[in-house]
Amino acid sequence: MHVSPLSWIALTCAVVAAVIMIYYLIYRPPLNGRVKLLMMVAVGVLPIMTAMIGNLEGLQATEHQAFCGSCHTMDMHIADANDADSLSLAAIHSRTIKFGDKSCYVCHKDYGMFGYAMTKLGGMGHVYMFLSEFAWYDMEEALPKIHIARPFKNDNCMQCHSTTGRIWNGVADHNGLLEDLRTGTTSCASAGCHGYAHPFSKPDEETPSDAEAHSALSAPSPEGT
């Protein structure tokens, strides 16, 4: 749980507004000019402050693991990403500070649940899927049914791995596929390349062995750097 200073301001506004409203409900003062001004603050100004800060915080909340994890359907992905012994791409990356608590968001920026799309119920395909179907499955049943909706965009990886570094370009497999990789025709996270980001979620025959996953990574020679 993360409670920012802004949240405390929002909560203070909410509490002050609530106290005034409760005061009105108990004492029912006549609605003269002064009381109206007070009530304008209590049902108008203060709640609007709370709502605006709440929106900011709510949008930010969608970037955090705890948000994704609030559906059990995502549990195994999160458990693996946070497993200190796991060597999956998701786990390796989650251990760096840039990912940390936001690890799902950094790689899945294009997932339809971020930003204002989330408030539009129409855009909430996943909530719909969750309530209509997945809420009733336990994790074992759900896992084989969850698939990435669109091919994963390499752009997401290229935020950090620019594909222009010397070591990166020194890898034969990268070199040969440069165009395909930049346009996303070949996924970085595919079997035979770096392997799936969440290998546990794939049926055995699709999961690359450790050796396979790393064969593409010919260690760069130290002299070259």
Binding site: M1, H2, V3, S7, A10, L11, A14, A17, A18, M21, I22, Y24, L25, R28, P30, L31, K36, M39, M40, A42, V43, G44, P47, I48, T50, A51, I53, G54, N55, E57, G58, A61, T62, H64, A66, F67, S70, C71, M113, M118, T119, L121, M124, V127
Partner: protein
Amino acid sequence: MNPRAKIERFLDNASRSRLMVYACVLGLIGLVLMSWSLFDQGWIPVMMAMSVGQGIGTLSFALFLVIVIIDLRKAEFRPSITPMPPKPEDD
């Protein structure tokens, strides 16, 4: 009765203090929903805050505005300068 007349009758007869009570009750519910998401950032509280919570909060404020409109309708607006009586030579 046409809708306009209906609204006017409502505005003439509605009890302001009762409207204010409704506004307060709705406001309290809205605030609870909006504050919940500040501390529990799962999808249910976050979604509730941004849809139901804010909807109810807006309704509460709208009720308050209705009270203001009722008062404005009852208020007498007198022009601060009394118009000059027409002079005979003007026409």
